[in-house]
């Protein structure tokens, strides 16, 4: 993966009537990655997005999107950034095709290519059958899909999706996530904000967790998990058929193991590398029947909860 920075913020700050909504934010989004913006409601996610688009002016600090400053050169930024707002709306009396055509025309897409492009994008989001139905008759989920189509019609370099899967059925979510996951291959960088941790974990390469206008933690998912949950260690769960009192001490002596905790039949081993093979041999040597062993995967849920528990 390329490591060019596409979106960067430096001490980005936004205050509304004295309340700081976004507080000295420093973010880096690299080219062709999917970046997840997480955080509880009111953490400043949407405000940050609006500042990246130049729709809201920052109180202090700067943002840079593909080399342009959204406050000073909003048109250049808007030309290459696709945006889907949280509460996406369309002109109800028009069909999806007409809605997209309007946006395509505003983006100066060559007239003769518009129809083909609309067909293609509607197919990608699964709305081909409803292309000529009025948007007023659409369900929330269908509008959500159309919103993604709308953000992608200009073939943006960066696409910012605010809660793209809200209101979708499970099948729709899968479809949309697959579509999002395929975007980096087409040369589009994705920033998506969401509460749906599982979905973020599925598609995002990197995340940033927001809280009260600040980034609490940012980085790639694997790094974060290790950092957050095991203080940089691997956690290996060893399950045995019956509790064996001496086993913990034996395992603690294995090279690289720093700590062993026992919970009935379960031993949780902290180590500084993946020692599963080593541990298995030791357990079997100690004549204890080994049932299963697994390395703890870092679920985003756990990371998220951990950070917000610490905050209190």
């Amino acid at each position: 993966m390329d490591k060019n920075i596409v979106v960067e913020t430096k001490d980005l700050t936004k205050k509304y009537n004295g309340t700081t909504v976004v507080d000295q934010l420093n973010l880096h989004i690299y080219e062709n990655e999917i970046f997840g913006i997480l955080g509880p409601n009111g953490a400043g996610k949407t405000t940050t997005i609006l500042m990246l688009l130049g729709l809201t002016e920052p109180t202090a600090g700067t943002a840079t999107v593909a080399g342009h400053n959204p406050t000073r050169e909003p048109l250049q930024v808007k030309r290459i950034v696709g945006y889907m707002p949280e509460k996406v709306g369309f002109y109800d009396s028009l069909t999806p095709r007409e809605n997209l055509k309007f946006i395509a025309e505003l983006n100066n897409i060559p007239y003769h290519t518009i129809d083909a492009k609309i067909d293609e994008i509607l197919k990608a989001v699964g709305l081909s059958k409803q292309a000529d139905q009025r948007v007023g008759t659409f369900s929330r989920g269908m509008k959500q899909r159309l919103g993604i189509a709308d953000a992608l019609i200009k073939e943006p370099k960066v696409v910012i999706l605010d809660e793209p899967t809200a209101g979708l059925d499970p099948e729709g979510i899968n479809q949309i996530l697959d579509l999002i996951a395929s975007l980096p291959k087409r040369g589009t960088t994705v920033a998506l904000s969401s509460h749906q941790l599982y979905q973020v974990q599925r598609v995002c390469h990197s995340i940033a967790i927001f809280s009260r206008g600040k980034v609490v933690v940012a980085g790639s998912l694997d790094d974060l998990g290790r950092k957050a949950l095991a203080e940089g260690h691997y956690r290996i769960e060893v399950e045995v058929a019956q509790a064996s009192p001496g086993l913990a001490d034996i395992l603690a002596k294995v090279k690289g193991v720093s700590k062993v905790e026992t919970k009935d039949n379960l031993l949780i081993v902290s180590a500084d590398s993946d020692l599963r093979a080593e541990l298995a041999r030791t357990v079997v040597h100690a004549n204890v029947p080994l049932v299963q062993m697994k390395i703890q995967e870092f679920s985003l849920d756990a990371i998220y909860m951990k950070y917000f528990q610490e905050k209190g």
């Binding site: 707002p85 709306g89 369309f90 002109y91």
Partner: protein, 295 residues
Amino acid sequence: MVTIIRKELADYFTSIRCFILFLLVFLVGAAGLYAAWQGIRSNPGDSSFVFLRLFTSEGTAIPALISLLALIVPIIGITLGFDAINSERTGGTLSRLLAQPIYRDSVINGKFLAGMVTLAIMVASVVGIVGGYGLRMIGVPPTAEEIIRLFLYVVFTIIYGAFWMAIAVLFSVVFRRVATSLMSSVAVWLFFGFFYTLMIVPAVAKSVDLMILLRRFSPNTLFEEATTVLLLPQWRGSGLFAVGEGDISFMLPNALSLGQSILVVWPQLVSLIALSIICFAISYILFMRQEVRST
């Protein structure tokens, strides 16, 4: 911006709202025509400006076309403008629209211009239709002067409608709810149309001069005076000529020439244009400064 104007126009012309407005306008045209038919027949009068009398003659029960139009043009203006911005906001389309590579002002300019075009089509078509049928009815073709006067009347009417549209657009920028902005626009219209000229001014003003002065703060009065002067060259009514203590009976019952009429209505024209521009400028500035908020 052309794209936005085209889209807004397409919206207007496919909307039920616009269909109803056209229906209303044509109904008014028909009523005015009927009034003129009754009025001209019962009072043939002298032969000057017969064609204009199509627009100014009252029937036995129906007011003249210019009074009817003066009544509904504000309604058309308000209807075209009251939800211009806030419907986009509540519909969630505004942030999407502003995220496109267009200048922000082209949104509000495009909407206003599209409304102006719609308004112009309505006014011009009703005047055209009444003129056409009237020609058949009375059989007297209009003179060049009458055509110019009618044209000026159409221009005035469009500007007057644009003023009310600017008021409505202003409220649509200020208020987030469509119902609030509609009610506010209607309230302003009622205030100037009825309370101000019919109740407040007569109650406050001690002299005729003061009354005329106060009345002219109302855009309705400005429009009424201007159109009357344009379409009724012989008219020697209130205000305009009675300024000072001049006695009306000394005046010759001659019609004013076209140049003189224009001279007389010039202040009204400038005031109406200025009012429209001020209203639009305020909504423009407010819209440009309004931030897109996350909530």
